[in-house]
Amino acid sequence: MIVEKIQEFIEKKKRITPCHVNRASEIGHPCYRYLYFLRTAWDQAQLPTYKQQLVFDEGKLQEKAVLRLLEDAGFDIVATQRPYEIKELKLVGHIDAVVFINKSFFPIEIKSMSPFFFESLHTVKDFLNHKYAHIRKIPFQLQAYLMLAKLKEAVLLLKNRSSGELKEIVVTQDEKMQNEIRVKCQTINDLVEKQVAPEIHEEFDETICSMCRFAHICLPDVKRKDELKLIEDEELIALLEKREQLKPFHDEYLEVDKILSKRLEGIEKAIIGDFIITGKWVKRREYKVPETTYWKKRILRIKKP
């Protein structure tokens, strides 16, 4: 009744925009082929799904709400969505807002996100080391803004979409990242001019390629070497079965022990039922865990007994 009509409206909003330049918001994308297709095959890109469109729209709404909040809080917003361009790099960007604080201008990029992402991101390094490419590219977007606005510092303002909480991360000019952006822009510009698509990556990246809106144009080979083995080892099967049987007891033991540790804290000597309890405070020594590699296993039972 209501949702259906809204869905129809949202579906009509889905569109792609022409792209003839390198966008600041995309320049941190790890795939040169994607960046090339953005310039040369933008009209063949897959439209966002209904759910993706909802997320984009929600982001825009949150951005407006944060800007309003900044104004209400008395910040001097000198520009919003102002376009910038570096002609020789064909690099463009629209900065969410430029705020005048302590006699300086700060470009601000507003990103609203799920509580899960919000809680895991505190520094620029957290962004750069993130599992997802769309998070890893954000610091490059900010560096591109600094290049475009010819400024030294920008603010990344994060908003928790669930609680409304805000978090600020000051991003300072990083020569290395900015050089990377320059090289990327020049490489893409050259390839676009020559109409030569970059080579396909040897390794198929599950987190990037399977979500790519140019996958139907790129058509990468997916080479997987880690085939699943069928191992018929009676001893291993017996051990796995035994582990499965003992697991509930182990879990229960840990739970009970945790409660007991809490309840018995501070009791030095006591008899409780048939048990003698002793305890003392022990100082935990600080030590550094050396970096090693270990095999992380995951056991999932196929069939419930």
């Binding site: 996958a215 139907h216 990468p220 069928l230 196929i302």
Partner: protein, 184 residues
């Protein structure tokens, strides 16, 4: 006239019998292995990886990707052919995606198709969309995902699965999205 006595050779029959048993054992093992593969494939999917069309469960592209990752299925030489067709309702496009799929030593070719006339992309409220209104890149991508789905399903024998199969693999079938197409 003396009747000729024909000696019945027992040895070959015994061998044949053994061979049969071995064959039966092998095929039993094979059936058990196939069942295990299907159960394992289902076990790593969840309700979000399936859709219900009518009462039939269909694996989604995300589900197929998960299963392909677990089993280490590769694919290559993917090609999409575009064909322009015309009938009394006008022009439309048909996309056919072909690729080779590999699991261990087994290699197959699979095909996936999609058209601008498909129920999902080509129709709205029981009316055929104008061609310029159709999201053609998504139709093309669907041919590709259908090809991946078919390749993965064929390699692992994940076809004709029932809701009961999914339920016994621990998938909450109540939560599976139902897909309906409006007729008008």
């Amino acid at each position: 006239m003396r009747q000729e006595v024909i000696q019945v050779a027992k040895e070959p029959a015994l061998i044949e019998h053994d061979a049969l048993v071995e064959l039966a054992e092998k095929s039993e093992k094979r059936i058990e292995a196939v069942k295990k593969i299907i159960r394992a494939a289902l076990r790593i999917t969840n309700h979000r990886d399936w859709v219900l069309i009518g009462s039939e469960p269909y694996l989604t592209a995300s589900g197929a990707e998960k299963v392909a990752r677990l089993f280490g299925i590769s694919w290559y030489d993917m090609k999409i052919e575009e064909e322009e067709r015309e009938d009394e309702k006008g022009k439309f496009f048909m996309f056919t995606c072909k690729a080779k799929f590999k699991l261990g030593e087994t290699e197959i070719e699979a095909v996936g198709t999609s058209s601008t006339r498909s129920k999902f992309f080509g129709w709205v409220k029981g009316k055929l969309r104008e061609l310029h209104e159709v999201d053609i890149p998504s139709v093309k991508k669907t041919a590709m995902t259908n090809c991946i789905l078919n390749g993965v399903k064929r390699l692992l024998g994940l076809r004709n699965l029932t809701l009961e199969d999914l339920k016994s693999a621990g998938i909450n079938i109540e939560k599976i999205t139902r897909v309906t197409f409006k007729e008008g």
